[in-house]
Symmetry: D2
């Protein structure tokens, strides 16, 4: 789980960064293109393009494309909508992958800690993928070259391996041919209602701690030399974010209810942010906010993502004939 | 996980209820006795006795004894202090159990949902207990009557069984002889720094939703007809609680920093509570705050509790000779 | 996991008991009716009716009906056939349940140990059921009485609870109204190719250790006072069984290959069984034979069974509208 | 899990290969040195040195040292003996590591599939290690150079990653400095009583399928360029092995009981092996034999191994001060 900070609140989602800037200026920030549509009833897709360096600075997000797929289906355990979500994810991912050569082997990387549920999205998805790199030689001749080669790895987290994920991936790329990397990671959101309702796809890769003085290496096309698509679902809001938002909401409420509280508005955002940080940080520490039934929801989320990836990559195949071949 | 409410914040801990009242009046509430000591360096024990009905109303806790054992050992993974914690728990539990006959069979009940990590304390502890009811007949004759009979069950939660835990326990008591019940449950705290740093023991049993209009049946001596000791560790703070506290802390800070904010103090606690509830409830919903590494910490917590219970109940035995006999 | 013995080999499957007797006499045993059909391509159903006490003695199985559903789908991870398997299971179960009143509440019991994978079928299925007993009051009025009331429990195993499952079920029946019990359990087979390819349904309940000097109480209509349907899937073959079979196969092979070995045939089955028991029991002990990927296969098996039960019980409902109501 | 074959039975244990040869010739095979002692009551240590290529061919094991530590403690859950086992493992491992430079960083590799219990030893051990490579810069100055640098990875299995473990390890070695590799893996034994009672350490690395026409790359000093110590515990016996042994035992029994069966002895071992293979292979297939409580025993085994490795590598440190530093 990487993270970044806007004011005092952290988000990994480009769409939340846009919304934050929009609340301040009432318009889409300069240098940013935004486009929205429904792929299915109940499934909303938003494209955000960060066009230049100035917009990137402003957003706290690198230049590139960010696709957000939104739906309540994961949380509500609605299978029908979950299948539509997988299908939407599949077609968005195909478009991003399509920029590279179509038959290059793909390496899917499941970032995060399998043994810490809120951080386990990546490894759980990897466990559900149809991996085919090692069975290429068993593909019947008339189909040769049609079953896309996929490898997958869950490199673990720095705290339990002592090795940066980026180092492990670099190492694998030094040994095997890879055309593109798809990196899966659990994300941190700013809004509680984003938890398990949003999937973000981006061609900018993963930038841990961008802008927060964190020197951990990015996992992107520049460092790895091949296209890197990052795919994530927010699973936590930092408790500090909740604390900070609560204060903001109450201040707004007080100001609108009684002119005597008008002066609260004079507190600048930055100043307020610092005061909140100082006051609350010792109280809420490193805690995270999650749904209590996170074990169950995470399982459903992993299934939806894995189904979307399998279908995007092995578009011309059905799962059963692959399973048969691997048996 | 049961819960109750103080102002707008929920706590299952008697010690937090006392603290809340103390901050208002600067003294231990009337009808409440409180006693504190260290059992070991780094392990603090507090006895709270709620003596009469008026104190019980005031505290929102039934008449009875509440023992709180506090230590940073669970979170810090310090084995040495964890062992001291188990030992302290063991001797506190022995004292509470001692009120009943010493050789009566004990039923340990692991409340909560094994498949939702923050709620899994009870079932995890049950999995680690030395259960002996079924091997009484194999005990060597010279030791007969010395190995205490222990049974244990994890009844599941209403949402997955459709049956109240209390009904299942009642049912078991109708079939087998039981001298006392020890009920283990994950708790909700008000303060983040209570999470996995506090063990509460009480002879009042478990009262789900006492005072919050919740009609679920209590699990206590009155309903079951045998003494019921409840043992819990706080594993979550409700996100609503964090939100509410944050606001309180900032208001205090503002008031003390600038006389212009003095009027904020005029907002009564109840009024403030309602305003916070209205404003924040849609934002934070049913979310809970937990440590991100909860999977790991929960495992350590279950081990400490199980070790304490095993040692309290099978005081004259070592684990290995029991394990040998059960093999 | 219960078990019984035929000669020196153990099986929980009525169909294997019939087959054993058939190999000796080349015909269906007297007092036994047998009927076979395909419900779908790749899904075979066999009804075995044990009609009288003499047949029951002969078979080592109580008088009653045994339905066996066979398919390679669980092991081969073929979703299409898995769905047909669920559908077949659903209609067989409905017929058995239909003998009782249609609207009586059902208690599903998941026998076995959740934390020992080969024994975890029951608890895993229970975790996937749509339990409705506690939401009856929330059913919209026009649908009242149409959503069947279902409760479910995983009572654990004697070794970890110290209480017989039968005692726990009796206890629950003393507290809540139940029209029928469906008991799920992992079974032991005699043939390796039965593992995870067979589902057995029977109206005779569960008889742990019938005929092997085991005094554990049965879970059946006679003890509980309500109809008890047992549903199981074989997940292990006892290593002793494999050992014994291997010897039998080799002896047959030797005899048919060389007349000099003819005398081996003179060794009676019982004598041979005892010799094998004496020689091999110290070597193979209590070990069980399972597929190496049992964790994965068990998950699929639990899903197929849960889907079949949900569909049999809530025939007029779809999963989503129930999930919506429970949210 | 790698494997090799002796006659028709597979073993990964050098000590079983020696025993097999000893039963044929009644002496330690030429070119093999063998030495035995007790490190503690109940803990037996055997050194087997394979000295030359002819002995290696004979044994089916590469030239090198094999240390076997034997004890019933893992299966019997005896903590006291488990601690002695960890201590013995620690000192044996220190000796093997000592051949290399003492302060070189160590990479521990957990081979096998975390999600298939019998194959999960490696990943489970990795999860319990004290990994320090990433905290070297935080070590207090006066202790600098004294906390040994350890990294660890669970590369997954070919079937779920599509990448050979050897490729992943090679990749990591291309990125980070490593002085020695310790590779943990679950093993296959020939004798059931070896399951979870034996730890094997060897400086020859891992040779999957040596001698069985399997071309998977070895993980050893020759391929990796640094010393590779392999550490394993047998968790399965192949069902085929059990079948084959059973036949052998019965034949021996028959021959010794009745001269009429003497001719059975004329069946040569190879011939008998082939006949058994042909007759039984369709029956027992790819099944494995394990203890039914494997989930529990595997957990204990992983703890014992992890404790031994942690203690061997961080000899001058206690766990708590490392944990403190990492917090």
């Amino acid at each position: 789980m990487s993270r970044r900070t806007i004011g005092s609140v952290r988000t990994d989602l480009a769409i939340e960064a846009v919304e934050e800037l929009q609340t301040q200026t009432d318009q889409v920030p300069p240098g940013v293109l935004m486009d929205q549509y429904q792929s299915f009833p109940g499934v909303h897709v938003t494209h955000v393009d960060v066009l230049d360096e100035s917009a990137a600075q402003n957003m706290g997000k690198p230049i590139g494309t960010y696709i957000t797929i939104e739906s309540q289906a994961l949380k509500k355990r609605n299978r029908t909508v979950q299948d539509r979500l997988s299908e939407t994810l599949s077609s968005c991912l195909q478009k991003m992958l399509g920029k590279g050569s179509n038959d290059a082997p793909i390496l899917v990387v499941g970032l995060g800690n399998e043994n810490a549920t809120p951080d386990a999205l990546g490894p759980r998805v990897v466990n559900l993928l149809l991996v085919t790199r090692h069975i290429q030689e068993f593909v019947p001749e008339d189909l040769a070259g049609k079953l896309r080669s996929v490898a997958a790895i869950s490199p673990g987290v720095l705290g339990t391996t002592g090795i940066e994920s980026e180092e492990i991936i670099q190492g694998i790329l030094s040994q095997i041919e890879v055309g593109a990397v798809v990196a899966i990671d659990a994300l941190a959101a700013r809004e509680v209602n984003r938890l398990f309702t949003t999937i973000q796809l981006t061609d900018t890769g993963i930038h841990p701690g961008a802008g927060v003085g964190n020197n951990r290496p990015p996992i992107d096309e520049k460092t790895l030399g091949v296209p890197v698509i990052a795919l994530g679902i927010p699973s936590v809001v930092h408790a500090m974010t909740i604390a900070s938002q609560s204060v903001g909401i109450l201040i707004d409420k007080l100001r609108s209810s009684d002119p005597a509280y008008a002066q609260l508005g004079e507190l600048g955002a930055a100043e307020r942010g610092q005061m909140i940080q100082d006051a609350l940080s010792p109280v809420v520490g490193d805690m995270v906010v999650t749904p209590k039934e996170i074990d169950l929801i995470m399982r459903e989320a992993a299934q939806v993502v894995a189904k979307g990836i399998n279908s995007a990559i092995h578009a011309d195949w059905d799962e059963e004939s692959i399973a048969e071949m691997m048996a």
